[in-house]
Protein backbone atom coordinates (compact mmCIF):
# COMPACT_ATOMS: atom_id res chain seq x y z
CA UNK A 1 0.00 0.00 0.00
CA UNK A 2 1.43 3.46 -0.86
CA UNK A 3 2.38 5.48 2.27
CA UNK A 4 -0.11 8.26 1.48
CA UNK A 5 -3.01 5.85 1.22
CA UNK A 6 -1.90 4.14 4.39
CA UNK A 7 -1.80 7.45 6.27
CA UNK A 8 -5.27 8.39 5.04
CA UNK A 9 -6.62 4.99 6.01
CA UNK A 10 -5.07 5.18 9.47
CA UNK A 11 -6.43 8.70 9.97
CA UNK A 12 -9.93 7.63 8.96
CA UNK A 13 -9.66 4.55 11.14
CA UNK A 14 -8.61 6.45 14.26
CA UNK A 15 -11.17 9.24 13.87
CA UNK A 16 -13.91 6.72 13.00
CA UNK A 17 -13.13 4.63 16.08
CA UNK A 18 -13.25 7.68 18.33
CA UNK A 19 -16.59 8.77 16.85
CA UNK A 20 -18.10 5.32 17.42
CA UNK A 21 -16.75 5.13 20.98
CA UNK A 22 -17.92 8.68 21.67
CA UNK A 23 -21.43 7.91 20.39
CA UNK A 24 -21.63 4.71 22.42
CA UNK A 25 -20.25 6.16 25.66
CA UNK A 26 -22.74 9.03 25.96
CA UNK A 27 -25.57 7.76 28.15
CA UNK A 28 -23.69 4.61 29.13
CA UNK A 29 -20.46 5.99 30.62
CA UNK A 30 -20.99 9.76 30.56
CA UNK A 31 -23.87 11.90 31.69
CA UNK A 32 -25.61 13.27 28.52
CA UNK A 33 -25.96 16.63 30.27
CA UNK A 34 -22.16 16.93 30.42
CA UNK A 35 -21.15 15.24 27.15
CA UNK A 36 -23.17 15.78 23.95
CA UNK A 37 -23.32 13.04 21.32
CA UNK A 38 -21.35 13.53 18.10
CA UNK A 39 -24.65 14.06 16.25
CA UNK A 40 -25.67 16.84 18.64
CA UNK A 41 -22.23 18.45 18.29
CA UNK A 42 -22.27 18.38 14.50
CA UNK A 43 -25.86 19.62 14.39
CA UNK A 44 -24.87 22.54 16.59
CA UNK A 45 -21.81 23.23 14.44
CA UNK A 46 -23.96 23.16 11.31
CA UNK A 47 -26.43 25.60 12.83
CA UNK A 48 -23.62 27.93 13.91
CA UNK A 49 -22.09 27.76 10.45
CA UNK A 50 -25.40 28.57 8.77
CA UNK A 51 -25.91 31.58 10.96
CA UNK A 52 -22.26 32.57 10.35
CA UNK A 53 -21.67 32.83 14.10
CA UNK A 54 -18.92 30.17 14.11
CA UNK A 55 -17.01 31.88 11.31
CA UNK A 56 -17.08 35.18 13.16
CA UNK A 57 -15.58 33.54 16.23
CA UNK A 58 -12.93 31.86 14.10
CA UNK A 59 -12.11 35.05 12.21
CA UNK A 60 -11.79 37.13 15.37
CA UNK A 61 -9.51 34.57 17.02
CA UNK A 62 -7.44 34.08 13.88
CA UNK A 63 -6.83 37.80 13.63
CA UNK A 64 -5.54 37.85 17.21
CA UNK A 65 -3.38 34.79 16.65
CA UNK A 66 -2.01 36.09 13.38
CA UNK A 67 -1.07 39.58 14.63
CA UNK A 68 0.38 38.27 17.88
CA UNK A 69 2.22 35.45 16.15
CA UNK A 70 3.80 37.58 13.43
CA UNK A 71 4.90 40.30 15.86
CA UNK A 72 6.14 37.67 18.31
CA UNK A 73 8.15 35.91 15.61
CA UNK A 74 9.72 39.12 14.32
CA UNK A 75 10.69 40.26 17.81
CA UNK A 76 11.88 36.76 18.71
CA UNK A 77 14.10 36.49 15.64
CA UNK A 78 15.52 39.97 16.17
CA UNK A 79 16.30 39.53 19.86
CA UNK A 80 17.40 35.93 19.38
CA UNK A 81 19.88 36.94 16.69
CA UNK A 82 21.46 39.53 18.99
CA UNK A 83 21.51 37.16 21.97
CA UNK A 84 22.99 34.35 19.88
CA UNK A 85 25.64 36.52 18.28
CA UNK A 86 26.89 38.68 21.16
CA UNK A 87 28.36 36.55 23.95
CA UNK A 88 27.97 39.26 26.60
CA UNK A 89 24.28 39.77 25.83
CA UNK A 90 23.77 36.01 25.88
CA UNK A 91 25.39 35.66 29.30
CA UNK A 92 23.25 38.46 30.66
CA UNK A 93 20.01 37.26 29.05
CA UNK A 94 20.31 33.56 29.87
CA UNK A 95 19.30 33.70 33.56
CA UNK A 96 16.44 36.07 32.73
CA UNK A 97 15.10 33.75 30.06
CA UNK A 98 15.33 30.76 32.35
CA UNK A 99 13.30 32.74 34.86
CA UNK A 100 10.60 33.74 32.36
CA UNK A 101 10.25 30.37 30.65
CA UNK A 102 8.04 28.65 33.27
CA UNK A 103 5.59 31.57 33.36
CA UNK A 104 2.68 30.47 31.17
CA UNK A 105 0.59 32.78 28.94
CA UNK A 106 -2.33 32.37 31.38
CA UNK A 107 -0.16 33.72 34.18
CA UNK A 108 0.58 36.79 32.11
CA UNK A 109 -3.12 37.63 31.59
CA UNK A 110 -3.62 39.76 34.73
CA UNK A 111 -0.53 41.76 33.87
CA UNK A 112 -1.76 42.29 30.31
CA UNK A 113 -5.08 43.61 31.66
CA UNK A 114 -3.32 45.99 34.03
CA UNK A 115 -0.98 47.31 31.40
CA UNK A 116 -3.16 47.42 28.29
CA UNK A 117 -6.76 47.29 29.57
CA UNK A 118 -9.35 45.01 27.99
CA UNK A 119 -8.92 46.02 24.34
CA UNK A 120 -7.27 44.10 21.51
CA UNK A 121 -3.76 45.18 22.51
CA UNK A 122 -3.79 43.10 25.68
CA UNK A 123 -4.90 40.05 23.66
CA UNK A 124 -2.10 40.59 21.14
CA UNK A 125 0.27 40.93 24.08
CA UNK A 126 -0.65 37.52 25.47
CA UNK A 127 -0.20 35.84 22.06
CA UNK A 128 3.09 37.66 21.50
CA UNK A 129 4.22 36.43 24.86
CA UNK A 130 3.19 32.85 24.01
CA UNK A 131 5.16 33.06 20.76
CA UNK A 132 8.26 35.08 21.41
CA UNK A 133 10.22 33.01 23.93
CA UNK A 134 10.45 29.82 21.91
CA UNK A 135 11.31 31.67 18.69
CA UNK A 136 13.91 33.71 20.54
CA UNK A 137 15.53 30.68 22.17
CA UNK A 138 15.65 28.72 18.93
CA UNK A 139 17.03 31.64 16.93
CA UNK A 140 19.71 32.25 19.55
CA UNK A 141 20.66 28.57 19.52
CA UNK A 142 20.84 28.49 15.73
CA UNK A 143 22.89 31.67 15.51
CA UNK A 144 25.37 30.65 18.18
CA UNK A 145 25.79 27.16 16.75
CA UNK A 146 26.94 28.23 13.30
CA UNK A 147 30.02 26.06 12.67
CA UNK A 148 33.20 28.08 13.20
CA UNK A 149 34.63 26.42 10.10
CA UNK A 150 31.83 27.89 7.97
CA UNK A 151 32.49 31.37 9.35
CA UNK A 152 36.22 31.03 8.74
CA UNK A 153 35.61 29.79 5.20
CA UNK A 154 33.58 32.94 4.53
CA UNK A 155 36.34 35.13 5.98
CA UNK A 156 38.85 33.53 3.61
CA UNK A 157 36.49 34.43 0.76
CA UNK A 158 36.62 38.06 1.78
CA UNK A 159 33.41 38.40 3.83
CA UNK A 160 33.27 41.32 6.24
CA UNK A 161 31.91 41.01 9.79
CA UNK A 162 28.48 42.12 8.55
CA UNK A 163 28.56 39.82 5.52
CA UNK A 164 29.47 36.87 7.74
CA UNK A 165 26.38 37.59 9.84
CA UNK A 166 23.95 38.25 7.01
CA UNK A 167 25.15 35.62 4.53
CA UNK A 168 26.46 32.84 6.76
CA UNK A 169 25.17 33.03 10.33
CA UNK A 170 21.54 33.88 9.54
CA UNK A 171 21.11 31.28 6.76
CA UNK A 172 22.77 28.68 9.02
CA UNK A 173 20.17 29.45 11.70
CA UNK A 174 17.15 29.10 9.38
CA UNK A 175 16.34 25.46 10.28
CA UNK A 176 16.40 26.36 13.99
CA UNK A 177 14.27 29.45 13.46
CA UNK A 178 11.67 27.56 11.43
CA UNK A 179 11.46 24.82 14.05
CA UNK A 180 10.93 27.47 16.71
CA UNK A 181 8.29 29.20 14.59
CA UNK A 182 6.39 25.99 14.08
CA UNK A 183 6.32 25.15 17.78
CA UNK A 184 5.37 28.77 18.49
CA UNK A 185 2.43 28.48 16.11
CA UNK A 186 1.03 25.74 18.35
CA UNK A 187 1.73 27.86 21.43
CA UNK A 188 -0.08 30.84 19.95
CA UNK A 189 -3.18 28.69 19.46
CA UNK A 190 -2.85 27.51 23.04
CA UNK A 191 -2.59 31.14 24.08
CA UNK A 192 -5.83 32.23 22.44
CA UNK A 193 -8.05 30.91 25.23
CA UNK A 194 -5.87 32.73 27.76
CA UNK A 195 -5.97 35.91 25.68
CA UNK A 196 -9.76 35.81 25.44
CA UNK A 197 -10.08 35.57 29.19
CA UNK A 198 -9.67 39.34 28.95
CA UNK A 199 -13.00 41.07 28.32
CA UNK A 200 -13.70 39.29 25.04
CA UNK A 201 -17.17 38.82 23.61
CA UNK A 202 -16.13 37.08 20.41
CA UNK A 203 -13.59 34.46 19.45
CA UNK A 204 -13.14 30.72 19.94
CA UNK A 205 -11.71 31.13 23.43
CA UNK A 206 -14.67 33.27 24.39
CA UNK A 207 -17.04 30.74 22.82
CA UNK A 208 -15.57 27.91 24.87
CA UNK A 209 -15.67 29.76 28.19
CA UNK A 210 -19.08 31.28 27.55
CA UNK A 211 -20.52 27.83 26.74
CA UNK A 212 -19.27 26.60 30.06
CA UNK A 213 -21.08 29.35 31.90
CA UNK A 214 -24.30 28.73 29.92
CA UNK A 215 -23.92 24.96 30.36
CA UNK A 216 -24.13 24.54 26.58
CA UNK A 217 -21.91 21.52 26.24
CA UNK A 218 -22.63 20.99 22.55
CA UNK A 219 -21.44 24.54 21.82
CA UNK A 220 -18.40 24.02 24.04
CA UNK A 221 -17.48 20.94 22.02
CA UNK A 222 -17.92 22.88 18.79
CA UNK A 223 -15.47 25.45 20.13
CA UNK A 224 -12.87 22.86 21.08
CA UNK A 225 -13.19 21.00 17.78
CA UNK A 226 -12.94 24.23 15.79
CA UNK A 227 -9.80 25.23 17.65
CA UNK A 228 -8.22 21.87 16.85
CA UNK A 229 -9.25 21.83 13.20
CA UNK A 230 -8.26 25.44 12.50
CA UNK A 231 -4.91 24.87 14.27
CA UNK A 232 -4.27 21.80 12.16
CA UNK A 233 -5.11 23.59 8.90
CA UNK A 234 -2.94 26.60 9.75
CA UNK A 235 -0.03 24.31 10.66
CA UNK A 236 -0.35 22.54 7.29
CA UNK A 237 -0.46 25.87 5.44
CA UNK A 238 2.58 27.06 7.41
CA UNK A 239 4.55 23.96 6.48
CA UNK A 240 3.53 24.12 2.84
CA UNK A 241 4.33 27.82 2.45
CA UNK A 242 7.36 28.49 4.62
CA UNK A 243 9.09 25.16 4.35
CA UNK A 244 8.80 25.26 0.57
CA UNK A 245 10.12 28.81 0.24
CA UNK A 246 12.93 28.01 2.67
CA UNK A 247 13.67 24.69 1.02
CA UNK A 248 17.29 25.32 0.17
CA UNK A 249 18.03 26.02 3.82
CA UNK A 250 16.40 22.81 5.02
CA UNK A 251 16.89 20.15 2.36
CA UNK A 252 20.25 18.89 3.62
CA UNK A 253 18.51 17.91 6.86
CA UNK A 254 16.33 15.47 4.94
CA UNK A 255 12.61 15.65 4.33
CA UNK A 256 10.83 18.65 5.84
Amino acid sequence: MPPVARRLLMGALSIGTVLVLWHWSVGTVFNPALVPTPEQTFAKAWKMMQSGELFIHIAVSMRRVLVGYVVGCLLGILLGAVIGRVALVRELADPLLELIRPISPVAIVPLAMLWFGIGEISKFFVIIYATIIIVLLNTAAGVSRTPITRIRAARCLGASEYEVFAKIVLPSAVPYVLTGMRVALGFSFMGIVAAELIGANEGLGFLIMNSQMLLQTDQLFVGLLSLGIVGLIVDRIFRALLARSMRRYMQFLGDV
Binding site: R152, C156, L157, G158, K167, P171
Partner: protein, 294 residues
Protein backbone atom coordinates in the same frame (compact mmCIF):
# COMPACT_ATOMS: atom_id res chain seq x y z
CA UNK B 1 44.27 35.07 -19.11
CA UNK B 2 41.75 37.90 -18.94
CA UNK B 3 40.20 36.35 -15.87
CA UNK B 4 43.51 36.33 -14.09
CA UNK B 5 44.13 40.01 -14.75
CA UNK B 6 40.67 40.91 -13.57
CA UNK B 7 40.95 39.20 -10.20
CA UNK B 8 44.53 40.27 -9.64
CA UNK B 9 43.52 43.93 -9.86
CA UNK B 10 40.78 43.37 -7.28
CA UNK B 11 43.18 41.89 -4.73
CA UNK B 12 44.08 44.07 -1.74
CA UNK B 13 47.36 46.00 -1.72
CA UNK B 14 48.75 43.84 1.11
CA UNK B 15 49.27 41.06 -1.41
CA UNK B 16 52.13 42.89 -3.08
CA UNK B 17 54.63 40.38 -4.42
CA UNK B 18 56.62 38.72 -1.70
CA UNK B 19 59.52 36.34 -1.85
CA UNK B 20 58.95 34.20 1.20
CA UNK B 21 56.69 33.64 4.15
CA UNK B 22 58.57 33.34 7.41
CA UNK B 23 57.69 32.00 10.82
CA UNK B 24 59.99 33.81 13.24
CA UNK B 25 60.08 32.15 16.66
CA UNK B 26 56.36 31.43 16.48
CA UNK B 27 54.67 29.81 19.47
CA UNK B 28 51.08 29.28 20.48
CA UNK B 29 49.75 28.94 24.02
CA UNK B 30 46.15 27.99 24.73
CA UNK B 31 44.21 28.04 27.96
CA UNK B 32 42.80 24.60 28.66
CA UNK B 33 39.32 24.08 30.12
CA UNK B 34 40.60 24.70 33.63
CA UNK B 35 42.20 27.94 32.55
CA UNK B 36 45.76 26.65 32.70
CA UNK B 37 48.14 27.53 29.86
CA UNK B 38 48.93 24.77 27.39
CA UNK B 39 51.92 25.25 25.09
CA UNK B 40 50.83 23.84 21.72
CA UNK B 41 53.79 24.90 19.61
CA UNK B 42 57.02 26.80 20.27
CA UNK B 43 60.10 28.12 18.48
CA UNK B 44 58.82 27.57 14.97
CA UNK B 45 61.33 29.04 12.54
CA UNK B 46 60.46 28.29 8.95
CA UNK B 47 60.92 30.04 5.65
CA UNK B 48 58.53 29.11 2.85
CA UNK B 49 59.48 30.42 -0.56
CA UNK B 50 56.85 31.70 -2.96
CA UNK B 51 55.72 28.79 -5.12
CA UNK B 52 56.72 26.11 -2.61
CA UNK B 53 54.51 23.12 -1.94
CA UNK B 54 55.29 22.93 1.76
CA UNK B 55 54.06 19.92 3.71
CA UNK B 56 53.81 19.96 7.50
CA UNK B 57 54.00 16.37 8.64
CA UNK B 58 53.53 15.32 12.24
CA UNK B 59 51.76 13.10 14.72
CA UNK B 60 48.17 13.89 15.70
CA UNK B 61 47.76 16.78 18.10
CA UNK B 62 51.17 18.32 17.44
CA UNK B 63 49.74 21.70 16.48
CA UNK B 64 50.05 21.50 12.69
CA UNK B 65 46.56 22.89 12.21
CA UNK B 66 47.28 25.65 14.71
CA UNK B 67 50.16 26.82 12.54
CA UNK B 68 47.86 26.90 9.53
CA UNK B 69 45.23 28.84 11.50
CA UNK B 70 47.82 31.45 12.37
CA UNK B 71 48.91 31.85 8.74
CA UNK B 72 45.25 32.15 7.73
CA UNK B 73 44.86 34.92 10.31
CA UNK B 74 42.15 33.15 12.31
CA UNK B 75 44.20 33.47 15.48
CA UNK B 76 47.37 35.40 16.32
CA UNK B 77 50.60 33.75 17.47
CA UNK B 78 51.24 33.98 21.24
CA UNK B 79 54.91 34.70 20.56
CA UNK B 80 57.02 35.48 17.53
CA UNK B 81 55.53 36.55 14.23
CA UNK B 82 54.60 35.40 10.77
CA UNK B 83 55.75 37.77 8.05
CA UNK B 84 55.97 38.13 4.32
CA UNK B 85 59.52 38.97 3.30
CA UNK B 86 60.81 40.80 0.27
CA UNK B 87 59.47 40.99 -3.24
CA UNK B 88 60.68 42.85 -6.34
CA UNK B 89 58.56 45.90 -5.71
CA UNK B 90 58.63 46.06 -1.95
CA UNK B 91 62.38 45.64 -1.60
CA UNK B 92 63.03 43.90 1.71
CA UNK B 93 59.81 45.18 3.24
CA UNK B 94 58.42 43.03 5.98
CA UNK B 95 54.67 42.83 6.47
CA UNK B 96 53.16 40.76 9.25
CA UNK B 97 50.31 38.42 8.46
CA UNK B 98 47.14 40.18 9.54
CA UNK B 99 43.50 39.08 9.78
CA UNK B 100 42.00 36.51 7.40
CA UNK B 101 41.77 37.64 3.81
CA UNK B 102 41.44 36.56 0.22
CA UNK B 103 45.22 36.33 -0.30
CA UNK B 104 45.36 33.20 1.88
CA UNK B 105 42.62 30.65 1.28
CA UNK B 106 42.00 27.67 3.53
CA UNK B 107 40.75 24.24 2.45
CA UNK B 108 39.22 22.65 5.55
CA UNK B 109 39.17 18.97 6.41
CA UNK B 110 35.45 19.03 7.17
CA UNK B 111 33.98 19.97 3.81
CA UNK B 112 30.41 19.45 5.00
CA UNK B 113 30.87 22.30 7.47
CA UNK B 114 33.04 24.47 5.25
CA UNK B 115 30.66 24.50 2.29
CA UNK B 116 27.49 26.58 2.43
CA UNK B 117 24.74 23.93 2.31
CA UNK B 118 22.02 26.31 1.07
CA UNK B 119 24.03 27.21 -2.05
CA UNK B 120 24.57 24.90 -5.00
CA UNK B 121 28.07 24.08 -6.25
CA UNK B 122 28.30 27.04 -8.60
CA UNK B 123 26.88 29.46 -6.02
CA UNK B 124 29.40 28.20 -3.48
CA UNK B 125 32.23 28.88 -5.90
CA UNK B 126 30.78 32.30 -6.76
CA UNK B 127 30.33 33.32 -3.12
CA UNK B 128 33.65 35.16 -2.92
CA UNK B 129 33.53 36.93 -6.30
CA UNK B 130 29.91 38.02 -5.69
CA UNK B 131 30.86 39.69 -2.43
CA UNK B 132 32.95 42.06 -4.51
CA UNK B 133 30.66 42.67 -7.47
CA UNK B 134 27.05 41.64 -7.15
CA UNK B 135 26.39 40.49 -10.74
CA UNK B 136 29.55 40.19 -12.70
CA UNK B 137 29.21 38.46 -16.06
CA UNK B 138 32.85 37.38 -15.97
CA UNK B 139 32.26 35.64 -12.66
CA UNK B 140 30.19 32.85 -14.13
CA UNK B 141 32.73 32.13 -16.86
CA UNK B 142 35.40 32.11 -14.20
CA UNK B 143 33.40 29.66 -12.08
CA UNK B 144 33.02 27.35 -15.07
CA UNK B 145 36.78 27.50 -15.61
CA UNK B 146 37.61 26.48 -12.06
CA UNK B 147 34.85 23.87 -11.85
CA UNK B 148 36.34 22.35 -14.99
CA UNK B 149 39.80 22.44 -13.40
CA UNK B 150 38.56 20.30 -10.48
CA UNK B 151 36.36 18.13 -12.74
CA UNK B 152 32.98 19.30 -11.43
CA UNK B 153 31.61 21.13 -14.49
CA UNK B 154 28.77 18.60 -14.81
CA UNK B 155 27.70 19.07 -11.19
CA UNK B 156 27.41 22.87 -10.98
CA UNK B 157 23.71 22.80 -10.14
CA UNK B 158 23.97 20.19 -7.38
CA UNK B 159 23.81 20.98 -3.69
CA UNK B 160 26.63 19.92 -1.34
CA UNK B 161 24.52 17.25 0.35
CA UNK B 162 24.16 15.52 -3.01
CA UNK B 163 27.94 15.18 -3.43
CA UNK B 164 30.42 12.56 -2.23
CA UNK B 165 33.19 13.53 0.21
CA UNK B 166 35.75 13.79 -2.57
CA UNK B 167 33.50 15.99 -4.69
CA UNK B 168 32.88 18.29 -1.74
CA UNK B 169 36.62 18.78 -1.39
CA UNK B 170 36.82 19.60 -5.09
CA UNK B 171 34.20 22.31 -4.56
CA UNK B 172 36.26 23.75 -1.73
CA UNK B 173 39.34 23.80 -3.94
CA UNK B 174 37.52 25.52 -6.81
CA UNK B 175 35.98 28.01 -4.38
CA UNK B 176 39.42 28.88 -3.05
CA UNK B 177 41.16 29.02 -6.44
CA UNK B 178 38.63 31.44 -7.96
CA UNK B 179 39.81 34.03 -5.44
CA UNK B 180 43.29 33.77 -6.97
CA UNK B 181 44.89 33.55 -3.53
CA UNK B 182 48.65 33.82 -3.11
CA UNK B 183 48.69 30.91 -0.71
CA UNK B 184 46.49 27.84 -0.45
CA UNK B 185 46.30 26.45 3.06
CA UNK B 186 45.19 22.84 3.17
CA UNK B 187 44.35 21.26 6.51
CA UNK B 188 44.37 17.46 6.08
CA UNK B 189 41.83 17.92 3.28
CA UNK B 190 41.70 14.27 2.23
CA UNK B 191 42.07 12.58 5.63
CA UNK B 192 38.40 11.57 5.76
CA UNK B 193 38.29 10.11 2.24
CA UNK B 194 38.67 6.53 1.06
CA UNK B 195 42.10 5.50 -0.23
CA UNK B 196 41.24 5.51 -3.93
CA UNK B 197 39.52 8.91 -3.93
CA UNK B 198 42.35 10.25 -1.83
CA UNK B 199 45.00 9.12 -4.30
CA UNK B 200 43.25 10.61 -7.32
CA UNK B 201 42.76 13.93 -5.52
CA UNK B 202 46.43 14.00 -4.53
CA UNK B 203 47.38 13.59 -8.18
CA UNK B 204 45.02 16.43 -9.10
CA UNK B 205 46.30 18.77 -6.43
CA UNK B 206 49.81 18.09 -7.65
CA UNK B 207 48.70 18.95 -11.19
CA UNK B 208 46.83 22.09 -10.07
CA UNK B 209 49.93 23.23 -8.20
CA UNK B 210 51.99 22.80 -11.36
CA UNK B 211 49.37 24.60 -13.48
CA UNK B 212 48.79 27.56 -11.18
CA UNK B 213 52.16 27.93 -9.46
CA UNK B 214 50.45 28.72 -6.15
CA UNK B 215 52.23 28.50 -2.86
CA UNK B 216 50.63 25.66 -0.93
CA UNK B 217 51.04 24.87 2.75
CA UNK B 218 49.68 21.40 3.35
CA UNK B 219 49.12 19.78 6.72
CA UNK B 220 49.06 15.99 6.89
CA UNK B 221 49.92 13.02 9.08
CA UNK B 222 50.33 10.80 6.04
CA UNK B 223 53.97 10.26 4.97
CA UNK B 224 53.14 9.03 1.48
CA UNK B 225 50.81 11.96 0.90
CA UNK B 226 53.50 14.43 1.95
CA UNK B 227 55.98 12.82 -0.46
CA UNK B 228 53.56 12.68 -3.39
CA UNK B 229 52.79 16.38 -3.02
CA UNK B 230 55.55 18.37 -1.35
CA UNK B 231 58.56 20.20 -2.64
CA UNK B 232 59.58 20.32 0.99
CA UNK B 233 58.42 18.28 3.96
CA UNK B 234 58.80 19.52 7.53
CA UNK B 235 58.54 16.87 10.24
CA UNK B 236 57.18 18.13 13.53
CA UNK B 237 57.87 16.84 17.00
CA UNK B 238 55.04 15.46 19.12
CA UNK B 239 53.20 17.99 21.30
CA UNK B 240 52.95 19.65 23.73
CA UNK B 241 55.47 22.29 22.82
CA UNK B 242 55.77 20.92 19.29
CA UNK B 243 58.32 22.41 16.94
CA UNK B 244 59.95 21.62 13.60
CA UNK B 245 62.21 18.59 13.93
CA UNK B 246 63.64 18.36 10.44
CA UNK B 247 63.05 19.74 6.94
CA UNK B 248 63.47 17.63 3.84
CA UNK B 249 63.83 18.69 0.19
CA UNK B 250 61.86 16.44 -2.13
CA UNK B 251 63.06 16.88 -5.71
CA UNK B 252 61.56 13.79 -7.27
CA UNK B 253 60.01 14.25 -10.73
CA UNK B 254 56.23 14.53 -11.05
CA UNK B 255 53.93 12.70 -11.23
CA UNK B 256 55.59 10.82 -8.41
CA UNK B 257 55.44 7.07 -8.21
CA UNK B 258 55.16 5.58 -4.75
CA UNK B 259 57.01 2.47 -5.89
CA UNK B 260 60.17 4.25 -7.14
CA UNK B 261 63.29 3.40 -5.17
CA UNK B 262 64.02 7.05 -4.39
CA UNK B 263 60.45 7.52 -3.13
CA UNK B 264 60.64 4.46 -0.90
CA UNK B 265 63.99 5.64 0.48
CA UNK B 266 62.39 8.94 1.54
CA UNK B 267 59.44 7.08 3.09
CA UNK B 268 61.95 5.20 5.24
CA UNK B 269 63.67 8.38 6.34
CA UNK B 270 60.38 10.01 7.32
CA UNK B 271 59.10 6.88 9.03
CA UNK B 272 62.16 6.78 11.24
CA UNK B 273 61.84 10.46 12.09
CA UNK B 274 58.15 10.11 12.97
CA UNK B 275 58.72 6.86 14.78
CA UNK B 276 61.08 8.59 17.20
CA UNK B 277 58.38 11.12 17.94
CA UNK B 278 55.60 8.63 18.56
CA UNK B 279 57.55 5.93 20.43
CA UNK B 280 60.50 7.85 21.82
CA UNK B 281 64.08 7.65 20.59
CA UNK B 282 64.80 4.35 22.36
CA UNK B 283 61.76 2.59 20.90
CA UNK B 284 62.03 -0.60 18.87
CA UNK B 285 61.52 0.15 15.20
CA UNK B 286 59.86 -3.08 14.21
CA UNK B 287 58.17 -3.18 10.82
CA UNK B 288 54.73 -3.38 12.39
CA UNK B 289 54.97 -0.16 14.33
CA UNK B 290 56.51 1.55 11.33
CA UNK B 291 53.56 0.55 9.23
CA UNK B 292 51.10 1.78 11.79
CA UNK B 293 52.58 5.26 11.59
CA UNK B 294 52.40 5.36 7.81
Amino acid sequence: MATQLQTASAAPAAVAPWASLEFQGVGKVFLDTRGRPYVATRDINVSIARGDFYCLLGPSGCGKSTLLSMVAGFEPPSSGRIVFIGGERAGERVSPVVAAGVDRSMIFQDAAEALFPWLDVEENVLFGPRLRSARNRGCKRNAAHYLKMVGLHDHAQKFPFELSGGMKQRVQIARALIMEPDILLMDEPFAALDAITKRSLQVEVSRIWQETGKTIIYVTHDIVEALILGTRVAVMTAGPGATIKRELEVDLPRPRRTTDIAFVELVKVLEDLLHEEVHGRAGESSRETRRSIA
